[in-house]
């Protein structure tokens, strides 16, 4: 117990020493109390005045957004200097007077200013209007004494030198919205920042954005800068090189002209998107410069939907283009041999219904090549009926239908591959065999997007190589100036035999040489492709399709043409869709031919280089 008593002594020692700790801490806290008395009571009035006249302002310095180029270094988006109109919240002296005065000098209405000011962005400065004219800026400068708190700041404004071209790919920028500020995705951004709102501006925003700087300045009584107290420079965003070839892109959009539609061109080997056109388009310069609420409504309500990117958002029945996938399914499941002949008399009776071929009287004896070349419907009606819906759905999914391609653009749609399971789940009905027959020629519930069809063409062209379509080729870090090529994306090989692809390719080549797309025949390059007609109004199975021309335009069918070239060593895969233009062979095939010929021309002139 000696030990215990020694411990007890030591404990008493230690506890007696606690008084020093107590005194020490109390002294420190009393000192703090005195300091607070000094600041808050003795000098309180002085600090009160300092707070009232606090003339330091912290300004966010916007970085220059990264530039956008095409694969050959052609400029697609840059920044131009412009005047931005801000109101510094701390310096407003008479809010009502400001609301009444400003509209005299700038084209903006009172309500809009008041909305902007009441936005709960707590930054000292609120942007009232972007890109004001030189005249407006001059007017405000000359009236600055009457407008305390109003500040004009030169900043960069996003500019798209090609105007409408590639508008859906590039997208546009705009001020971060209230709802975006609440979204965790943007949690590191402050109110007032200009961010990508659509297209690659949106998807690659993190590269393009850069980092804001900050300047602390001292201002005079009217909120005008007197001197700079400290500056942290902004860091510009990275420049991006897209995979687009802008020459091809322009051509694709010009080919579509006034029609609504989409064209997608891919390098089938690495998934590079060479052109992604959607018409009608819009001018991103109109949208990015702070579009007025009225104009924006007009845009959104436009019945031609110029903001919709039809290449990735338009979901259309594939029509006869789907026969490519049907052929693969037939051969791979050994439902039919390639050489097997099927008689076609122009009709396929099924139960109490009769399904018609597009060609009255039929195609006679048809093998696979002829069935593809002439787009014989009866052949595929019969084949599809033997296959059944679920194997068809399986092969459609193998070729990437029914799922997004994963292209780096917002709001891609997935299309729809129906199956018996899908129908039970969604429609709560069993699958009827008659529906399989419609699906066999790409009608019915089946829908696809143009980019999916370009991917199908790529897969056939490369004998089953599946790559994700990509838009970003390289990026240049502004900080270091180094150009970094993006590595080629990984690919996947489909488990479909080369023989199957050989048979399909033979048929697709025949489509152009002697089949439904003779208009796509080129003297300089061999093209393989498939036409398609996507029904807009469901006709009865035995309805007369020949009346298409007399129909009103908005009820006419959409025209598809999906192709690749050269047949032997494919370099480009293309999908063309023109809305309400009837037959793919006449409306879409010539566009694809022109595009492919142009691309072969670029290829021989020069190798694209950065």
């Amino acid at each position: 117990m000696l030990d215990t008593s020694r411990q007890a002594n030591e404990l008493a020692d230690i506890q007696n020493r606690l008084i020093f700790v107590k005194i020490g801490f109390l002294m420190l806290l009393v000192l703090l109390g005195l300091r607070l008395w000094q600041l808050q009571v003795r000098d309180g009035f002085h600090y009160q005045e300092l707070a009232r006249d606090n003339r330091t302002r912290s300004i966010v310095l916007e970085p220059a957004r990264g530039l956008l180029y095409d694969r050959n270094g052609e400029l697609l988006a840059n920044n131009i200097p412009s005047f931005q109109l801000y109101v510094s919240l701390e310096d407003i002296q008479d809010r009502e007077a400001l609301l009444a005065q400003l509209p005299h000098y700038v084209d903006i209405d009172q309500q809009e200013i008041s909305n902007k000011l009441s936005m709960k962005s707590r930054r000292g400065r609120v942007k009232i209007k972007a890109d004001i004219t030189l005249k407006e800026a001059a007017l405000i400068e000359s009236h600055r004494l009457e407008l305390p708190g109003v500040v004009i700041q030169p900043e960069y404004q996003r500019h798209y030198p090609l105007n409408n071209y590639a508008s859906h790919v590039l997208g546009y920028v705009g001020e971060i919205s209230e709802s975006q500020l609440k979204d965790p995705e943007f949690s590191n951004l402050q109110g007032g920042r200009i961010i990508g709102q659509n297209g690659v501006e949106r998807t690659f925003d993190e590269y393009l954005l850069g980092e804001t700087g900050e300047e602390v300045i001292e201002v005079d009584a009217l909120g005008y800068p007197k001197r700079s107290l400290s500056v942290r420079r902004p860091l510009a965003g990275d420049d991006l090189y897209l995979t687009l070839d802008i020459r091809l892109q322009r051509l694709a959009e010009d080919l579509l002209g006034q029609e609504a539609g989409a064209i997608v061109a891919l390098n089938p080997w690495n998934g590079d998107i060479l052109a992604l056109a959607s018409k009608p388009g819009f001018n991103p310069n109109d949208v990015s410069g702070g579009i007025s609420a009225k104009d924006w409504q007009r845009f959104i309500k436009d019945t031609r939907h110029p903001l919709t990117n039809r290449a990735i958002q338009g979901q259309y029945p594939p029509g006869s283009v789907f026969k490519i996938i049907m052929a693969a399914a037939l051969l791979e499941t050994q439902t039919l041999g390639a050489q097997e002949m099927i008689p076609c008399h122009g009709t396929f009776p099924f139960g109490r219904r009769v399904f018609r071929d597009w060609k009255a009287g039929g195609h006679g004896q048809v093998d696979l090549t002829k069935a593809i070349a002439e787009s014989c419907d009866v052949y595929f009606y019969k084949a599809g009926n033997q296959l059944g819906i679920d194997p068809i759905a399986t092969y459609a999914r193998l070729f990437g239908l029914g799922e997004k391609t994963g292209i780096a653009l917002p709001s891609e749609r997935s299309g729809l591959v129906p199956s018996s399971e899908w129908k039970k789940r969604v429609k709560r009905e069993p699958w009827y065999p008659g529906e399989t027959i419609s699906i066999s020629i790409g009608q019915g519930f089946l829908t696809v997007t143009p980019i999916q069809m370009a991917k199908v063409a790529s897969i056939v062209a490369t004998n089953g190589r599946v790559v994700q379509p990509r838009l970003l080729k390289a990026s240049r870090l502004r900080r270091t100036g180094t150009l970094k090529e993006k590595p080629e994306p990984p690919f996947r090989q489909l488990a479909i035999s080369p023989q199957t692809f050989a048979h399909i390719k033979k048929g697709l080549a025949a489509v152009v040489t002697k089949g439904t797309a003779k208009l796509a025949q080129s003297e300089i390059v061999s093209i393989a492709g498939k036409t398609g007609t996507a029904q807009v109004v469901a006709l009865k199975p035995d309805g007369d399709k020949g009346k298409n021309k007399e129909l009103q335009k908005e009820f006419r069918d959409h025209a598809w043409f999906v192709a690749f070239a050269p047949v032997e060593h494919p370099k480009i895969a293309v999908a063309v869709l023109v809305e309400h233009m009837g037959h793919g062979g006449s409306a879409s095939a010539p566009l694809a031919k022109t595009l492919i010929e142009a691309y072969m021309g670029f290829e021989t002139i020069q190798e694209p280089s950065l």
Partner: protein
């Protein structure tokens, strides 16, 4: 085990316990109120910050209950292991931690980020108490050098992040515990005690004598982001905020310094300035009194603890919190340089909240077991 449990105060909470909890709750509420005022109308992503802090308070009180419940002797025996784990986490932070505002302090953990430099304080407190409580440590080597060598790696790893504030806090706990244990040379002890007490003020004096560019260099060396505006901008804005609160304060939302964002980091390091601006000298005094009450109660527990482990644990907890309070308020009121130390129980931060409440739980743990006999 049953023997030990019989020694525990089983009467539930007495007046002292209620008062102790009341003081803690009052301080945390003042913090949440100030955080609410700074950040509420701001459009922040997701959950508002003041609600996050309230959530951390709940998590912290769960940790508090655990810390009260398990006999501190048992925890003290585990302390070396826990400290070792803490060191490993600090090394992980240095290698793979999340960098924010120029220093690497956080380990991302799902949606959260934990700050091991906070959590290692608990094993430190337990370990020091266990070391000196085990047997009488005679001589310089056993009294000072060996524990010093154990504490040093933690100190250096935190300093390396860099987190000057936390590493000084680490050192302060060590020094105060040594002083309480008692040095052979009393004179030496008093020198250190005096130095520690005067540290913020002495620094202020030495600091003032340096040229501005020298100060900038030193500050940017130890903490590159303490004052990004340079030239004492943040310190000045903080002093203006506190001073302009005057006697009665400007009321909730009334603080122009806060609402117009002159004051940086209003919800974290400068939360005291927000409070002082809105509630004035009177409010500040009430708050200081609450802290003083908390420390006195803590020291009371240390004084009445039944053994050395309990006493030293209680002293360590009080030191940890008092150091934060003294340095933070000295910093915001312009008595010490801006080194980036949060105000315990008030500044926003999940790790610190959980750690501080755990430590206070240990304090109550010591108190509730003091009735047992030797």
């Amino acid at each position: 085990m049953p023997l030990m449990n019989d020694n525990v105060n089983r009467r539930g909470l007495d007046a002292f316990d209620w008062c102790f909890l009341g003081v803690i709750m009052a301080i945390i509420s003042a913090g949440i109120l100030s955080i609410y005022s700074v950040t509420n109308p701001q459009t922040t992503a997701g959950f508002p910050i003041y609600l996050k802090q309230a959530t951390w308070m709940v998590v912290g009180f769960l940790a508090f209950l655990v810390a009260v419940g398990i006999d501190y002797h048992k925890l003290a025996r585990l302390s070396y292991l826990l400290y070792g784990i803490g060191l490993i986490l600090l090394i992980i932070v240095l290698i793979a931690g999340k960098t924010s505002r120029g220093s690497q302090r956080w380990i991302p953990l799902g949606p959260f980020a934990v700050q091991p430099s906070e959590f290692i304080k608990i094993p430190l407190l337990l370990m020091l108490a266990a070391y000196y409580g085990a047997s009488t440590r005679e001589g310089w080597v056993r009294r000072l050098i060996i524990p010093g060598l154990i504490v040093l790696p933690g100190f250096l790893l935190i300093l390396k992040q860099p987190d000057l504030g936390s590493s000084l806090g680490f050192l302060a706990i060590f020094l105060v515990v040594i002083l309480t244990v008692g040095m052979k040379s009393k004179a030496f002890g008093f020198v250190i005690l005096a130095a520690l007490m005067l540290f913020p003020f002495a620094w202020g004096g030495v600091w003032g004598s340096l040229h501005e560019y020298q100060q900038d260099r030193i500050l940017s060396f130890v903490d590159p982001n303490s004052d990004p505006g340079g030239k004492g901008y943040h310190g000045l804005q903080s002093r203006i905020a506190i001073g302009s609160g005057q006697l009665l304060g400007k009321g909730l939302y009334g603080g122009t310094q806060t609402q117009f964002k002159f004051l940086p980091e209003g919800h974290t390091d400068f939360v005291f300035a927000v409070f002082a601006e809105e509630w004035g000298f009177i409010g500040s005094m009430v708050l200081l009194s609450l802290y003083i009450l908390l420390f006195l109660m803590g020291l009371e527990i240390a004084f009445k603890a039944k053994d050395i482990v309990g006493t030293l644990l209680a002293v360590g907890v009080v030191t940890m919190i008092a150091f934060g309070v003294v340095v933070n308020i000295a910093m915001t009121s312009g008595l010490a340089p801006v080194v980036g130390i949060p105000l315990p129980l008030m500044s926003y931060g999940g790790s610190a909240m959980v750690v501080n409440l755990t430590a206070l739980g240990l304090l109550l743990n010591v108190k509730r077991r003091r009735l047992s006999l030797l």
